[in-house]
Homo-oligomer: 306 residues x 2
């Protein structure tokens, strides 16, 4: 099958063609580079929603509740970079059954990414996959990541709206991740609202939000019980309000520039690590390795600065 | 004070001069760039040990036990990038007292790094600080990071030996972090060996190690009770065995090349994000933002590939 035929099939919701396109891109094969180049040029239309949270917060169940509400009249893709996610095959029984109800819906496509592929971590592999799905015509992309850490911060730079999910009793994790936490959350969710401690979690989060920087957007704290769908409509409303904010404030453009810068730098990094077919770069890396040149000066030389 | 005087004072264990040098480098001020350039050229001599583990595993106590054993006849620096570490001021009382015993020892210097600085995350700020301490003549540098996640993987690429600390009952975390876990551990520690479940944790880890790739080095599993020093000598012996392996196998050179590549790429990334004084790069980022060029092709253009 030619690349053109493959792309046509993938656009036509042929699941096998879709999987082949994404695998080529994930592995950066020569075909993958061509396909990515075409798809990237057609991307920029989809709304990208990140959903992140520690294991056990019920974010996968929440995602499964978001899917039918966000898909609307269009097409929706889920990119699961959480190895414990039911979307990645790590399901508990209840989740599997829930996911099963989506199986026959060809408006919904689910792609699982390994936490650590052959070529870089999720911060290198996720953004191109998301852009490819965007270029393939998906109107909505949900990116599910586990934990709140630097990799989530990375992934958050490729999403429009980042939803951070916590569950009651998550206090320790708040302590640990405080530093990067508010920075990435556009919408906060206290899930498992039927459990003890939910009110305290909401108060904690609202207090943290109040102490955060004034950026023109105050992350709302939404209370949900994903297992029975309670509060999910309010979450969708919060996501949509954030989209309006992104568009009207110009923040979407700023974020997309940052995402572009980071994707470019990630590609430079893969080339620098690989060595072999970028002589100028390889020479600079060799000089840094031998301490003949420091990394900052090497970058300046590479970029024609100085 | 001139940069030369500042450096001379810092080399002379003047704590205020040391702090000023590192702050300049952390903030990438013009002085910081000069200082880093000098110090990087003189780096490459220190042994760098990373200590990482989830909160509550007692790794800070373990670090405080490692300090007197590793400092030997030389000088030792601790870089704490864990916001909950007592080295970063997040101490519980017992830890503070323990740290206090080091306060009068001018062979030991402790530097705390914010989890997320103004300029990038810990994966951008930690390596230059470590190289600077190396260039300043510290013989040993211990880098303490929290959690096991992508940022730890990043930091691990700048250390010679990575010690991953777990405590009994850590089962869930193993599940979650399996993907990146064995990849970074050169030495595994089950701390709090007096607690229930220690034997099971050792068995789990040994089983995981046995399933890992055959790389010429099998991470040993060391059992410690840091609060009374039990097992810490065995840990030091394991670290030293790993150093012998690094030197004899050529792995140290390979790791240092990778670290050089990543530091160079991190510098490119900061320039790409900042925009302003690298016109060629800024132009490429603008094209990627407008979807006129995909990030991989932009990187290839920047690197003179194609």
């Amino acid at each position: 099958m030619t690349e053109t035929d493959l792309l046509a099939s993938a656009r036509n919701a042929d699941v096998r063609a879709l999987a082949r396109v994404l695998t080529h891109i994930e592995n950066r094969t020569p075909e993958g580079r061509d396909l990515f180049s075409v798809l990237f040029s057609e991307s920029g239309r989809a709304w990208i929603t990140g959903v992140t949270g520690a294991p056990g917060t019920g974010k996968s169940t929440l995602v499964s509740e978001l899917i039918p509400r966000l898909v609307g009249a269009g097409r929706l893709a889920v990119v699961a970079v959480d190895p414990s996610s039911p979307f990645s095959g790590g399901a508990i029984l209840g989740d599997r059954i829930r996911m099963g109800s989506l199986a026959g819906d060809d408006r919904v496509y689910i792609r699982s990414l390994a936490n650590r592929g052959a070529l870089g971590g999720i911060s290198e592999t996720t953004p191109p996959i998301v852009s490819a799905l965007d270029g393939l015509g998906f109107d909505e992309v949900i990116v599910e990541t586990v934990g709140v850490g630097q990799s989530e911060v990375e992934v958050a730079t490729t999403t429009d709206t980042t939803v951070v999910v916590v569950s009651p009793g998550w206090g320790d994790a708040i302590q640990v991740s405080k530093a990067g936490f508010l920075e990435i959350a556009d919408v906060l969710v206290v899930n498992k609202a039927d459990r003890q401690g939910a009110d305290a979690a909401v108060r904690d989060l609202e207090a943290m939000v109040a102490m955060g920087p004034d950026t023109g957007w105050t992350p709302p704290v939404v209370v949900t019980t994903a297992t029975d769908g309670t509060g999910v409509d309010a979450l969708v409303a919060a996501i949509e309000q954030h989209r309006v904010y992104l568009s009207e404030s110009g923040e979407r453009v700023r974020r997309r520039r940052l995402a572009a810068a980071r994707q470019l730098a990630a590609a430079v990094r893969l080339e620098a690590e690989a060595a072999g077919d970028t002589p100028d770069l390889d020479d600079l890396v060799a000089k840094v390795t031998k301490r003949q040149l420091d990394p900052w000066s090497a970058a300046a030389a590479l970029l024609g600065k100085n």
